[in-house]
């Protein structure tokens, strides 16, 4: 059996770890509130613009933007949003697993895949997993700026416009609640028509001043807002997942400390008993 001193060092070290994890839990909890607020504020805009784009894709417009035309798929692009830091449980792993499965589906059909990675964890993963990465950005602050994201997305959009990529997906975690984050893959371009049976007949908007100009602006804004929302949502997911992961770690450390304390007390008691037995035995011998 291990001796008391060894056990005591082990307990101390676990206690130190527990202090760190519980501190991180508290930090994540306080950050989580702020990031969730930011996410909730941005949601209506991204939802509404998605609805509008859905209508537009359903209409029979006089002018069809490049982003509205379905093409034969030879190469697809993925924009994958992951966190920069770890210690957030299975958040990134789940997302990457789902994405890789999705990618595999295309690869099996003989379609090539390009990747645009936002966040460090995705970059690390695909460095070892392999994959054609065309753009990567990491170390986003907790208050993501649209401007910082545009550059890397533009690579993808340009490729789409030039016809090198025929479909772009956006893959990110969607915040359901603090306990659940759902990996989700949505099609960004070509625009996905909203299934709305009420609007099936042929109709078109009146465009003022000019369909082309308007669509250009609207679609750019749509893509920006979708990616921005994905990143903001991902930050909220990260903090929530981190809080849960750190809470579990703290609880586990507590259990471990209890267990080890019990063993240590047993060992100490056994040592005392043995010592007493030796003294009694010694006295009897005299």
């Amino acid at each position: 059996m291990a001796n008391t001193k060894e056990l005591r060092t082990q307990i101390t070290s676990i206690k130190n770890t527990q202090k760190i994890t519980s501190a991180q839990e508290l930090v994540a909890a306080s950050k989580m509130r702020r990031t969730q607020e930011r996410m909730a504020k941005g949601r209506p805009y991204s939802d509404h613009i998605r609805a509008v784009i859905g209508h537009v894709a359903n209409a029979s417009p006089e002018y069809r933007h490049a982003f509205m035309i379905e093409r034969e798929v030879k190469r697809v692009g993925y924009i994958i949003v992951t966190t920069d830091k770890g210690l957030c449980g299975g958040l990134n792993v789940n997302l990457l697993k789902t994405t890789v499965k999705h990618i595999q589906g295309w690869v099996n059909e003989g379609v090539e895949v390009d990747l645009c990675l936002i966040g460090n964890k995705g970059a690390q993963f695909f460095r070892s997993y392999g994959g054609h990465v065309v753009a990567a950005t990491s170390h986003q602050s907790e208050v993501p700026q649209v401007g910082d994201l545009i550059g890397s997305i533009k690579v993808m959009l340009d490729a789409f416009e030039e016809g090198r990529i025929d479909k772009i997906y956006l893959s990110n975690n969607v915040f359901v609640n603090t306990m659940t984050q759902k990996p989700t893959i949505t099609q960004l371009v070509p625009l996905d028509a909203e299934d709305d049976s009420g609007l099936k007949h042929r109709w078109d908007y009146i465009y003022e001043p000019d369909a082309r100009e308007l669509m250009e602006g609207l679609i750019t804004r749509f893509i920006e807002s979708q990616v921005y929302q994905a990143v903001v949502e991902n930050v909220a997911c990260e903090q929530a997942a981190k809080m849960i992961a750190m809470k579990n770690a703290t609880d586990n450390a507590g259990d471990l400390i209890d267990e080890l304390s019990l063993i240590m007390n047993n060992v100490r008691q056994a040592a005392i008993t043995q010592e007493l037995a030796e003294i009694v035995g010694g006295a009897a011998a005299v």
Partner: protein, 140 residues
């Protein structure tokens, strides 16, 4: 009862208004727009300026939108504003100051300023002031 149409105003930061309205009056890219229920589908840009909503029952509410897009469907109006605020929350002093700052910047005539941006700034502040004044008149 007058017929109504659902209208929502969202800015990048938050949802500002959502509800039934009798009419919407605002400035589109090529001119003033008055939208009543049953309007034909329309897609246009928003110019900085006041957005006046006539609520159910005739009450009026004024917002300020600084640009963006508006989508009109016969049964729904969606205003996707870059930024939007309730006219009540507009700060006149701040708008005047921002306008003066922009004008000073323009008057400074330095080469490193972005004329397009400064001019847009001035236009936006002017629109904001217009909204505030209109709103005040109406209250009286």
């Amino acid at each position: 009862m007058a017929s109504t149409v659902h209208c929502s105003i969202v800015s990048a930061e938050q949802e500002i208004f959502s509800g039934m309205v009798e009419s919407v009056i605002m400035t589109g890219t090529i001119g003033e727009l008055g939208i009543w229920p049953g309007h034909t589908p329309l897609l246009t840009g928003v110019k900085p300026g006041p957005v006046r909503l006539r609520l159910e029952g005739g009450e009026e509410e004024v917002f300020f939108a600084s640009g963006g897009f508006i989508e009109v469907q016969p049964t729904a109006i969606t205003i996707l504003a870059d930024t939007a605020v309730r006219a009540d929350d507009l700060d006149e002093a701040a708008a005047v100051e921002a306008q003066q700052r922009a004008q000073r910047e323009l008057a400074d005539n330095r080469s490193d300023i972005d004329f397009a941006r400064v001019n847009a700034d001035i236009a936006e502040q002017a629109a904001m002031l217009r909204t505030i004044r209109k709103h005040r008149e109406q209250k009286r």
